[in-house]
Amino acid sequence: MKVEVRATPLAPWRELASYEEAHPELAGGAGAASVFVGSMRDSNAGDSVTGMTLEHYPGMTEREMLRLCEEARDRWSLLDLLVVHRVGALLPGDPIVLVAVWSTHRREAFEAARHLMEQLKSTVPFWKQEQTDAGRRWVEKNTPGY
């Protein structure tokens, strides 16, 4: 299990290839992997967005991410989890968050990945600030995902 807050660019597919290479025990045991990648869009609420800055609460953010992953692992008997979330400056198209879940069967993988994404959005201390033509603005609320 790995949880990371990253200030440098995230290449999700390369990240996953490296992680599986480093965890050969997943091959053969894990019948299912469910992955979600959330990326920065070039528009929001009708405005063109040219950049984004993500802030976090160092220490607490990692702790909350780890708590969520441990809860999900136990609830769905997951084999492994990988969660990486960006902070710092992002451009449109840049991946913001990667959630990957490995399990024996597909139902657990799908449900856990989705649950983790909702929890990441609603409970982990991250804050987005968007850069638009009208200036910088803090993103004020989350879009419901269910």
Binding site: F36, V37, G38, S39, R41, N44, L54, E55, H56, Y57, G59, M60, R63, H85, I96, V97, M117, E118, L120, K121, S122, T123, V124, P125, F126, W127, K128, Q129, W138, V139, E140, K141, N142, T143
Partner: protein, 79 residues
């Protein structure tokens, strides 16, 4: 007692302050720490509170050496 205070995101900008070290009486809640740190500003209802990096109620008691974080609703993840 001494308590470390941290502010984040839009709250940090509004207050013009990252954080502070606050001296306060032996019996105090997170809300008391807020008042002390902000010079008596009222605590906005949507502000979230963490004591020692765990979510807490604004009426939670704080201890000497604690860290109290105040921040707006979180907006991580993806659309």
């Amino acid at each position: 007692m001494t308590v470390a205070v941290k502010f984040f995101a839009s709250l940090k900008e509004q207050l013009g302050c990252d954080g502070a070290t606050v001296e306060i009486g032996e019996v105090a809640t997170a809300a008391d720490v807020w008042l002390q740190a902000t010079g008596g500003k009222s605590l906005p209802p949507n502000v979230l509170v963490a004591v020692n990096m765990e979510y807490a109620d604004q009426n939670a008691a704080v201890q000497d050496g604690d860290e109290v974080g105040f921040f707006p609703p979180v907006t991580g993840g993806a659309e």
